[in-house]
């Protein structure tokens, strides 16, 4: 392609920096924040928010500040241009800034190329993943000693809350954002998402949300953990407004991301790509997307109720005034339990997608795997009260929730069976992505088994709210999602960026991470069993040995992340060894694209095999050519 590049005189730097881009976004974001604060100040002048004057904080002003700040940021990024054009009646378009800009510039602005958005997602989420990880390191530092404080009690709880919120909010899109956006279109034979501008919108909204969350430290933090239970949240200082703002924006982003992916998969499969030929990863994305756009609105609603409690003085969560603390718990977990499967399901997809490549075999039990994913998705809406087993709510229904929760292990078991079946008599190659997939099986096995203790009410009485449940969900989410996240990075980054990651460093990263991860979280099961509750800043001195062990392991886990970072910086930014088009000899469609991938992905719609995993057999092409309509655009 480089041969036809026409040398164009590049405008000066300042000229290129002016326009709708990140700089303008930040500038307008700050201006918007100030405007919102000012309007909020005016409002409270007429005394709508009654507690602003006495409490020394003005939630209305802060909320409006966040709102206008985010709106300003999005306007600066250029997201208002198209809506305004539409208001003036200009016809719809589906592309923006795709091919017209050189180099890295397009990564800092609204770009509708799904490959660009995917890399934006990968880097953006990566940044917040590392901030969240840093919080975890600080938490473990505090827990080195039972009752001597490195941080104050407020700061410690803020760290706990930010770690959880940031990880759950950001990593929810951790696989769907970067990898589904990049991989799903080529996998189904499309060049784009159904709504490319919304695709970009979800990313920039997520980044704005992340900044909103970090600003909590300027308002005293929030001491509620990521669950943000009410009425503790109502009671919190202004830092909780940042929590509401963050999670609500993440909810919007999740809803739109899920809708966009689901619509794309449902309506934009190329001819020949029937439902039974979809790669399993696409199925997992579809199941996840459905959970996302159905569950996230409930989170938004629950948070809006909290926001109204704090500003216009409603009493949704105030028991003495006709509200209920259960209301938040219910709404939060009706979202929250699908949410944890939103986090886990893409991991299933990645693992089952990568396994055939590295075992050199077709996926074993394709239909079983699909039904497993859909089953998990469906069941996840019927289990939420297992988070409330000892809360005294609907105690008569506990046997039902026990059953439904344990039933979820059936479809999850399907994934394991397909995993094991695919390895059967395969020719297993221990590449870095494969190692991460295998680690998934190990971690998720223990995550799942510990889940049984939490789903069984008599056992849950002791384990609920303890370090046991904390260890459990780190085994499922970190062991399930983050390991597959890295598997996906090592697997797809050569195609996404066109450069190889170092295999040797990757293996070092894997082994440090895998061992440190297990060494960190396995002792926490024991601590929970011994009676250590979650989110405490002090603990019984007899727990110190195990806590110190976990802390030291956590620091090693942190070091393993630095190894990864070093690998990325060295391999992708400095050494830049060009990648082959298909280094893994994969047979899935996205690897048939050229490397580096052209803007339009492929010239001719790929031809699909009736079997998405034609390993060990000759491929049988079944796709039919696309007929351009009369007067096809030329």
């Amino acid at each position: 392609m480089s041969t036809i590049a026409v040398p164009v005189a590049r405008p000066p730097l300042w000229r290129r920096l002016v326009g709708f881009n990140l700089l303008a976004g930040i500038a307008l974001g700050i201006i918007g924040y100030v405007i919102g604060q000012w309007i909020g100040g005016r409002f409270t002048g007429v005394n709508i928010a009654y507690y602003s004057k006495t409490a020394g904080q003005n939630d209305i002003a802060i909320m409006l500040g966040y709102f206008f700040g985010v709106v300003g940021f999005l306007i600066g990024m250029g997201f208002a241009n198209y809506p305004i054009q539409r208001m003036l009646g200009y016809p719809p378009t589906l592309a923006e800034h795709e091919a017209e800009e050189e180099g890295v510039g397009r990564y800092f602005r609204l770009c509708t190329d799904h490959k660009v958005v995917a890399i934006q997602y990968l880097v953006g989420i990566g940044v917040f993943f590392f901030i969240g990880g840093l919080n975890a390191m600080l938490i473990r530092t505090e827990l080195l000693q039972p009752n001597t404080h490195v941080f104050g009690a407020n700061q410690y709880l803020t760290l706990v809350g930010m770690h959880g919120t940031m990880m759950m909010g950001m990593m929810t899109s951790g696989i769907l954002g970067p990898f589904a956006n990049w991989v799903v279109p080529p996998m189904i034979g499309a060049r784009r998402m159904a709504f490319p501008r919304i695709e970009s919108f979800t990313f920039w909204l997520l980044m704005a949300a992340g900044v909103v969350l970090i600003t909590t430290i300027f308002f005293g933090g929030f001491q509620t953990g990521w669950t943000g239970y009410q009425p503790l949240g109502d009671q919190n200082t202004a830092g909780y407004d940042a929590y509401i703002g963050f999670f609500a924006l993440v909810g919007v982003s999740m809803t739109l991301l899920g809708l966009n992916l689901a619509v794309t998969i449902i309506s934009m499969r190329a001819p020949g790509m029937t439902w039974t030929r979809l790669p399993i990863f696409v199925w997992s994305v579809l199941a996840t997307a459905a959970l996302m756009f159905l569950a996230a609105p409930m989170l938004i609603a629950a948070l809006l109720m909290g926001a109204m409690d704090r500003t216009i003085q409603t009493a949704f969560y105030v028991a003495g005034q006709g509200g209920s603390s259960y209301l938040f718990q219910n709404l939060f977990w009706v979202f929250g339990h699908p949410e944890v499967y939103i986090v886990a399901l893409p991991g299933f997809g990645i693992v089952l997608e990568l396994l055939p490549v590295f075992a050199r075999k077709p996926l074993w039990g394709y239909r079983l795997a699909v039904s497993g994913m859909l089953g998990v998705g469906l069941l996840s809406f019927f289990v939420w009260q297992h988070h409330l087993f000892v809360s005294g709510i609907n105690a008569d229904l506990r046997p039902f929730y026990m059953l439904s929760t344990e039933l979820i292990s059936l479809p999850t078991g399907f994934t394991f069976l397909c995993f094991m079946g695919t390895l059967w008599r395969g020719r297993i190659r221990f590449t870095v992505p494969m190692l991460f997939c295998l680690a998934w099986a190990f971690n998720f096995l223990f995550g799942g088994i510990s889940g049984v203790f939490l789903s069984d009410v008599p056992s849950d009485v002791t384990t609920h709210g303890s370090f046991f449940s904390m260890a459990h969900f780190h085994y499922t989410i970190m062991g399930g999602l983050v390991f597959t996240f890295f598997a996906a990075i090592y697997y797809w980054v050569p195609k996404m960026t066109g450069f190889n990651l170092s295999e040797r460093l990757g293996k070092v990263h894997f082994w440090t991470m895998f061992l440190a991860f297990n060494s960190t979280f396995a002792p926490l099961f024991a601590l929970g069993f011994m009676g250590m509750p979650r989110r405490v800043v002090t603990y019984n001195p007899s727990f110190q040995a195990l806590n110190d062990w976990a802390s030291v392991s956590a620091f090693i886990l942190g070091i393993s992340m630095l190894i990864f970072l070093y690998n990325v910086v060295w391999s992708l930014l400095i050494k830049r060894e060009p990648a082959e088009a298909n280094p893994w000899h994969s047979k899935s469609p996205e690897w048939q694209l050229a490397t580096p991938v052209p803007v339009y992905d492929f010239e001719r719609t790929p031809v699909f095999d009736p079997d998405p995993y034609p390993y060990g057999v000759e491929p049988v092409p079944v796709g039919r050519p696309v007929v351009a309509p009369a007067g096809g655009q030329a």
């Binding site: 208001m87 003036l88 091919a99 050189e102 109204m308 009493a315 005034q321 001719r604 050519p625 096809g632």
Partner: protein
Amino acid sequence: MEASASAPLARHIEPEPPGWQLRAVWVAVRLWIGSASFFFLSFLFAYFYLRSIDSNNSWKIGQVNPSIGLGLAIAALLALSAIVFRLGAMRPSDTLGAGLAAFVMAFVAIVLQFVEYTQLSFGASQGGYASVFFGWTATYAVFGVGCLYWIETQLASLWRARREGLNRPVREGVPTSDIALMRAGIDACSFFWAYYATVGVISFIILYLV
């Protein structure tokens, strides 16, 4: 990667199948209704939940009864607006006129909602019902403002298309014309608007009558 950016888009690329985007719009609006339903279901849940537990006997503190007249007016306007727009959307020649009428009615309905807040005899703190009333109607109205914008874009497109007669591709390699996409958009918009009005009628029944 760097090179492809400066190259003009290759002209020999095969276009995607026609009708994808039209189907995407059709599917998207239905899924979006699913999303929105879960959002409003949260408020419905809050209503029945708080009503059933009646914590501290505070479902209603004092006289907490919004005037049925205004509520009925809002619900009726919304329902009428939705019917007019949906019928108009089915007949291309009438769409613009029907859409305008629907837009005006919707606008009035939403303004009335905000007028109602100034007329209420109770405040948001007066118990569970008052909380749900304010929370539900306010988010519903704000949602409605978004819908107004959506309807406006559809009418504006129609108006401009009538003046300028457009038929252009929406993107390289996407053979769907903007005219077809516009019709799909109007269909989706009116469909969602009908859904929205249905929610409005249901919320009127629950908040004012039950």
